[in-house]
Symmetry: C2
Subunit: 114 residues, 2 copies
């Protein structure tokens, strides 16, 4: 039986890179905590994933761009969405003044067209 842990605890110090920690890994499933401290996706970079990602911001704030959408999405605590596989997206901005904590659940895609 695992101990209780806290998603807001044990934060990494601000660093050049986001801090990614796997909380649970299973075949076809990975739950991650991602801590951003002002990072954004590199210019011109798009995430283009083979898996669906259900993602929620738990603290902080971020701007998420979906390539197919005209407007950037502003995410704050409690905001969540499903980013389907092959939906190109990028993080335009995260709050540099406070940790932005994401819960990301990577799952096998609903439909495989590959």
């Amino acid at each position: 039986m695992t101990a209780t842990e806290n998603i807001f605890g044990d934060l990494p110090v601000a660093a050049a890179d986001e801090a990614v920690a796997a909380l649970l890994s299973r075949p076809g499933l990975r739950i991650e905590r991602i801590v951003s401290t002002g990072q954004a996706s590199p210019p011109g970079f798009w995430y283009d994933q083979d898996w669906d990602e259900w993602v929620m911001v738990l603290s902080g704030a971020a701007l998420l761009r979906i390539e197919s959408e005209p407007e950037v999405r502003r995410l704050a605590a409690g905001d969540y969405l499903l980013i389907p596989a092959q939906c190109r997206h990028r993080v335009e901005w995260t709050d540099p003044a406070a940790a932005t904590i994401w819960l990301a659940i990577h799952v096998a895609p609903d439909h495989c067209d590959g």
Copy 2:
């Protein structure tokens, strides 16, 4: 592409039962939001599930009893743990004064002994 939603939004009014909403359902995976407003498990009742449950409290407070443990676990915002399949547990108490919002991720068990 789904809209952004907020886990703290659209709360049900206090009712006799907990409010459970499926946020994502896939074979072997279900993500739920559970809103408790003072409910507890009935006396003598134990959850005894065939699936693993990764659960996090997002707001409010709860007391969770694991049958095999001498002490009850007090959970507050950000606390999470994995409750393995067949690990008997019950909710002893949730805060009657504020909504306790849980994120529950039900997944196929790591090992199947059945």
